[in-house]
């Protein structure tokens, strides 16, 4: 009887038309951080124990042989610490002990991984044939190792992965991947920032293919490098845009005004922004221009229009259009804007030069009178809003000639970290009402000051903006994947489980997630990014039928023809079926229709095959790109016949909400 119960409870999900893993089960009452780890790549919890990933933390209901048998059938069994099952499998503690603080992941031995809290552990021996994934940095004691067994495997950890799940073993999911684990779902809607300045020799077709595989649907390209036209630069950017479009990736011009370009800075010393020490505002990599000056503004506006006109952009991103720095007025060497125009304007309003506020001997210095600095900070926030309004106006003027172009405003969060308004002049409360008059996406950048906080901050940030705008569909979040200046653990830059948790939680909280930046995402993370960005809320598998519900639509691993909600379904490639948001049932179909849509980067609303082809409905804030398995004979958009436009074999569709019908 007991063995029957075990068999039923710890059975493996029958795999329908795919080798992917859909659900997990943590054996025992205390689940630890495992739900946070495993859901971060789209796995759903199976409370019944019918799953494909099993985590055994304490007492094991099955013997080592029984677990191995399940691994042989495709299960992944995770064992935590010392236990009879682990010992039976050969993970045996010795009398020698080691204090673990620095660890080394063998896939990236140069990556500095440090545990914030050192732990003393026994030195384990691992069985023959086991692959050691992680070891202690100095004594090389094994800390995480795996055994492959047929299509599945056993992953053993010397100690728990930590309270949040990412404190000790960043590449735990990747280790499961090495044992054969495949993530269940995919999203292909991520945005990513790209700076090509140091990657001029990369094969752009190779990069574009890799980005698309990593779930990137839109690339925001550092456009200031191409502000000044050069034959090499222009050719490179054209090649980049073509390569992206071929892979159904949209390309936006990412602007970092008031930085314009290196050349512009050199050519126009008279328009250089000034700090409160009256030095040229060359801060980090940005060389800032005084856009309050009307001549400078007109010149830069014309240059930006030229930049947008020279290339086939799908959108433009006005990013970080405010002032420096995160140290606020306490660091005058970085405080902007203190150019003559701004100072004159402030003086006209307040009757004194704002420089007086930085002079420790002045009676207006904030140590003696706070009101003057308050007035300057208010003026500065107001000026930032004026700039933003002005530049949105300029972009809308460009859009009148290019109606398919999207507009994004990247703005640092000042609701979660309320100091941003005073530090850099960013005030979302003043900018968000502009959504009522202008069509743009508001991309929230989490400020560096909170990069050390955990992934749970993203749902909190989302809720902080709820009262500010009814246009939640226009909100997006920008995750900075960079080395953080704070004392953070286990890695300086988010990677592995921490990154997946960040992406997963932010994808649940916002309709759009941007990653800064494409090249900082470590290579080992790329494979699981699409899974992390998926937002499945429910999954049920009955025989070969899969019932799923997702917030934003997604790709489901699938081979062969499929029906969705009972209709033959045309949106799939050889490995994935793409379904819209909401509840859907997927099941095998006898055969495909006459053609398929292999990839699509708009938001799919519905689809179905027709006698001579297929039709679908979508919406997109820019052009939408569709990869087809063959060229269509006719294209109908919203009932009217259109001449198809292609980038290579990728069909270009208009911005907005449309119904498309194709015959072949």
């Amino acid at each position: 009887m007991r063995s029957l119960i075990k068999t039923v409870l710890f059975a493996i999900v029958p795999v329908a038309a795919t080798g992917a893993t859909f659900s997990y089960h943590v054996v025992g009452e205390d689940k630890g951080a495992w739900p946070a780890i495993l859901t971060s790549v789209g796995l759903t919890e199976s409370p019944t124990g019918i799953a494909s990933v099993f985590v055994v933390r304490g007492a094991s209901p099955l013997s080592a042989a029984q677990w191995l048998e399940r691994a042989g059938q495709g299960a992944f069994v995770v064992l935590e610490g010392d236990s009879p099952v682990a010992r039976e499998l050969g993970f045996v503690p010795s009398q020698t002990r080691v204090v673990v603080r620095g660890v080394e992941d063998v896939r990236t031995p140069k990556l500095e991984i440090v545990w914030e809290k050192a732990v003393e552990l026994p030195v384990y021996t691992v069985p023959d044939g086991a692959k050691v994934f992680v070891r202690e940095r100095w004594a090389k004691a094994p800390l995480m190792a795996g055994l492959r067994k047929g299509p599945g495997g056993v992953l053993w950890l010397a100690v728990s992965p930590g309270p949040q799940g990412h404190e000790r073993f960043p590449y735990l999911i990747q280790a499961l991947g090495d044992l054969g684990f495949e993530a269940p779902f995919r999203s292909a809607q991520l945005w990513a920032f790209f700076d090509g300045s140091y990657r001029s020799r990369a094969d752009l077709d190779y990069l574009a293919e890799r980005w698309r595989k990593a779930g990137i649907g839109t690339l925001h390209v550092a456009a200031w490098h191409y502000y000044d036209s050069t034959p090499e630069g222009d050719a490179y950017l054209k090649r980049l845009i073509e390569a992206c479009h071929k892979q159904a990736i949209l390309v936006y011009a990412w602007l970092e005004l008031p930085h314009v370009s290196e050349k512009f800075w050199s050519d126009h010393p008279e328009w250089r922004e000034k700090t409160a020490l009256l030095q040229d505002a060359e801060l980090d990599w940005r060389k800032l221009i005084n856009l309050t000056n009307r001549d400078a503004f007109r010149t830069v506006a014309a240059g930006v229009k030229g930049l947008l006109g020279r290339f086939d952009w799908d959108g433009v991103n006005l990013a970080e259009l405010y002032f420096e720095s995160l140290e606020g007025y306490l660091n005058p060497a970085r405080f902007t804007p203190m150019n003559p125009d701004t100072r004159a304007e402030f003086k006209a309003k307040q009757g004194y030069d704002p420089l007086e506020l930085f002079d420790p001997n002045s009676p207006r210095h904030p140590s003696k009178d706070a009101s003057g600095m308050r007035a300057l900070l208010e003026y500065r926030a107001d000026l930032a809003r004026r700039w933003q309004t002005e530049w949105i106006g300029e972009m809308e003027a460009v859009r009148r000639g290019r109606p398919d172009m999207d507009l994004v405003l990247t703005h640092v969060d000042d609701r979660f970290d309320t100091r941003m308004r005073d530090l850099i002049g960013a005030d979302a409360g003043r900018v968000l009402p502009l959504l009522a008059q202008h069509d743009f996406t508001f991309l929230i950048e989490d400020p560096a000051t909170i990069w050390n906080l955990g992934p749970q901050r993203y749902p909190k940030i989302a809720s902080a903006y709820d009262p500010l705008t009814p246009r939640k569909d226009k909100m997006a979040i920008d995750i900075n994947i960079v080395e953080r200046y704070q004392d953070v653990y286990p890695t300086k830059q988010q990677t592995g489980t921490e990154l997946f948790q960040l992406v997963h939680l932010s994808s649940g909280a916002f309709p759009r997630v941007a990653l800064y930046f494409e090249n900082s995402i470590l290579k080992d993370d790329l494979a699981f990014l699409p899974a992390a960005a998926s937002t499945v809320t429910r999954l049920e598998q009955t025989g070969t039928k899969l019932a799923i519900d997702s917030k934003r639509g997604m790709g489901v691993p699938w081979t062969g023809p499929a029906k969705v909600d009972g209709r033959p379904w045309p949106v799939r490639d050889d490995k994935t079926v793409w379904v819209p948001a909401g509840p859907h049932a997927i099941e095998p179909a006898a055969k495909d229709g006459v053609a398929r849509m292999l990839d699509f980067n708009g938001t799919l609303e519905s689809a179905g095959t027709t006698a001579k082809g297929f039709e679908f409905a979508y919406r997109s804030s820019s052009r939408a790109l569709a990869k087809l398995d063959r060229a269509p004979r006719t294209l109908e958009i919203d009932g009217s016949q259109q001449q198809p436009v292609f980038f290579d074999s990728t069909l270009v569709l208009p911005r907005g909400q449309h119904i498309v019908s194709l015959t072949f």
Binding site: E29, D82, R101, V114, K117, W138, D487
Partner: protein, 676 residues
């Protein structure tokens, strides 16, 4: 580029003829690279590089392939390797220099461009000179700008740091050192700056100071910086003078000073250790660990007036654990920890965590091992003592268990002491000379429409270490209905119980693996005057073997999960015509979680019971099965357990059975027992 490849392919082919181990992967790598299968090509280049590690050209071509994939850092490293293997290839050196610049290794890039400018071939000199000039002038401009910023704002930490960074990139170690030091003075909490200071001091040849700075960083409060510093210092344990030098640089580093103090203590230099602890306590009065240690040292040398305020401070402000240590130490001063490169707290913490897991999982021997480690790490952790008691108790080593419960009773934490006290009282009778146990089990039977009651009062006498215990006993066996209504029966009234008090003496063995042997001799005294089937007092002899075991999650506080219980009794009863009866009662089911509000804690289970006898009496041969529930309430004593069982029974003997072969019975009752 194509020519280079062709040349290399030819040379590789030629090498292949002389059995070049790298030939095959190289050939594949070039083919894959041409087919733009860069990932596969990189894997083969890496294989080839491993097989022919001295061949610069492989690293160079690998680097170019890595550039195709955008992996600039990896490309840089392979160009660097190719340059080291072939210093005459200035083209590779230039590639390496550019990639160093692009990947933020700018000081290295600047040095390389300078070297190539001075010593490179004709083709590379001009490029290197131009690039060096560009980098150097930008650095010079930056340095001038931040110098001015520092002049205008001398307490501006980030200006000093920025200036130092640019100076270091320009190989101006002296300027860099001055401003890293200034930044360090402004922000001594940033131990990362100590690494910077140590690095530039080393560049200036100030090796001793550099080593001291790195030692201080390696003992700082930031684990990441400590780990980086550890990689830069010798692996041997530092000398006292090195600690002292490090403290000169970083006098506020409490961790560093504490480690020195413990080192001195271990070396027997108590006076010097005390001086260091005094320094910590003066600088960081909140460091109660050092405060306590200082107090202990003073106490050890009989300086009670000096020690008392320190130890009182710990008692007032310290956590329970530290306060407990102080209480113990007031009788016996002891060192709080040993100076090993280990986190002693973490050892104990980890052991405790593992012990908890083992206890939860039922691995009692493992739990015992971990608890012993935890106890060694912290001999005054009363929670560990309590757990040791429970572990020994579950391993049936009650003699050990009671010792630990007794120690844990002394805890200042009332929850620990009360639990330990309770457990101690439970176990103590087993080791007391006299132990009196009272139990009762009244229940209602729907089949007999009667309330039955069984009870016993038993006083055992402990005789040395003998495995047998004599005892005196009084049993009660009765019911409320007394007899079946004779009007419904053709035969004489049938009594449903013995309706007696049985007074006697007996002897019992110790329980071994759940089995107890016992025998009693006494007199049964009936309490029903109307009963005529037996005399007022009759001899009563009974005895047998009793076996009881539980498995899984039994009905105990905070327990929930699957469980099984079995009770088997083989009893000889003189009164039943010298019959021998065998009772087997078995239950298996699930213990539910305890409800937090009411303290209601229940088990759902299934019964399988069998009763057999030697003489084949119909009433003593039947089987029963059916569901049951057992439950208790937190406010009541733990030994009060209610039960309701619904069973279907089958008689196994037809002969003489006036009833049908099948019966149904609903039984509801409670069990209560206590021992003094």
């Amino acid at each position: 580029m194509r020519t280079v490849w062709m040349a290399f392919v030819l040379s590789a082919l030629a090498a292949g003829q002389s059995k070049d181990a790298a030939y095959e992967p190289l050939q594949k790598a070039y083919e894959q690279s041409r087919a733009r299968q860069y990932d596969a090509a990189i894997a083969n280049f890496e294989r080839a590089a491993a097989l022919a590690p001295k061949r610069a050209a492989i690293h160079k071509d690998l680097a170019y392939t890595l550039l195709k994939t955008g992996d600039t850092e990896a490309a840089r490293d392979h160009f660097g390797e190719a340059m080291r293997l072939d210093a005459s290839d200035f083209h590779v050196a230039l590639e390496y220099a550019f990639l160093c610049y692009e990947t933020r290794q700018r000081a290295e890039a600047r040095r390389l461009f300078e070297r190539i400018r001075d010593r490179g071939d004709v083709g590379s000199r001009a490029t290197a000179a131009r690039t060096f000039q560009s980098i150097d002038s930008a650095l010079a401009e930056g340095i001038a700008r931040w110098r001015r910023a520092v002049e205008l704002s001398p307490n501006n930490f980030s200006a000093h740091q920025e200036l130092a960074r640019l100076a270091e990139e320009r190989d101006d170690a002296k300027l860099a050192a001055a401003h890293y030091e200034a930044a360090w003075r402004l922000r001594p909490d940033l131990s990362e700056l100590l690494l910077d200071v140590g690095r530039v001091w080393k560049a200036l040849g100030r090796n001793e100071e550099a080593a001291a700075a790195l030692l201080a960083a390696s003992r700082g409060s930031q684990p990441r910086i400590a780990e980086r510093a550890k990689a830069l210092i010798p692996s041997r344990y530092p000398y006292v003078y090195e600690f002292r030098k490090a403290l000169e640089i970083d006098p506020k580093n409490v961790e560093l000073r504490r480690e020195l103090a413990y080192l001195l203590l271990e070396m027997g230099k108590k006076d010097e250790a005390e001086q260091e602890f005094r320094g910590i306590v003066d600088a960081a009065p909140g460091d109660l660990l050092s405060t306590a240690q200082l107090g202990f040292l003073k106490l050890a040398r009989k300086d009670l007036p000096g020690a008392t305020p320190l130890l009182n401070r710990v008692l007032e402000q310290g956590d329970d654990e530290l306060a407990d240590r102080v209480r113990v130490a007031l009788k016996l001063p002891q060192s709080l920890k040993s100076r090993k490169d280990a986190a002693p707290d973490s050892r104990g913490t980890e052991a405790k965590a593992l012990a908890d897991k083992s206890l939860k999982a039922g691995y009692m021997k493992d739990a015992l091992k971990y608890l012993t480690v935890a106890h060694e790490a912290d001999p005054m952790d009363f929670a560990v003592m309590l757990k040791l008691g429970h572990a020994y108790n579950q391993l049936k080593q009650d003699r050990e268990a009671i010792k630990w419960f007794s120690l844990a009773r002394k805890s200042s934490d009332p929850s620990i002491s009360s639990e330990a006290d309770h457990a101690w009282h439970n176990l103590r009778p087993a080791f007391a000379p006299f132990r009196t146990t009272v139990w009762m089990f009244p229940f209602y039977s729907s089949r007999w429409k009667d309330v039955f009651s069984y009870a016993q009062v038993k006083t055992e006498i402990k005789v040395g270490n003998l495995p047998l215990r004599p005892y005196l006993t009084t049993r009660f066996i009765g019911d409320t209905r007394q007899a079946l209504d004779s009007s419904q029966l053709i035969v004489a009234p049938q009594y449903l119980s013995e309706s007696s008090f049985i007074v006697g003496a007996g002897i019992a063995t110790r329980t071994w693996r759940g089995v107890t042997g016992w025998f009693e001799a006494g007199e049964a005294i009936k309490y029903l005057g109307s009963r005529k089937d037996v005399g007022a007092m009759i001899p009563d002899y009974r005895g047998g073997l009793s076996y009881a075991r539980g498995f899984g999650h039994l009905l105990a506080p905070s327990s929930h999960g699957l469980f099984a219980e079995t009770n088997a009794d083989g009893i000889y009863v003189s009164r039943f015509n010298r019959d021998m009866l065998l009772y087997s009662q078995n239950r298996a089911g699930y213990t539910l979680r305890s409800a937090e509000n009411t303290g209601f804690h229940a088990q759902l289970y299934w019964n399988w019971n069998a009763t057999l006898d030697r003489k084949g009496e119909y009433w003593a041969n039947y089987i029963e099965t059916g569901p049951g529930v057992k439950f208790r309430f937190q406010p009541l004593p733990p030994s009060v357990v209610f039960s309701v069982n619904a069973v279907r029974g089958n008689y196994l003997v037809r002969e003489g059975n006036p009833r049908g072969p099948v019966f149904y019975d609903l039984r509801a009752g409670f069990w209560y027992a206590f021992t003094h």
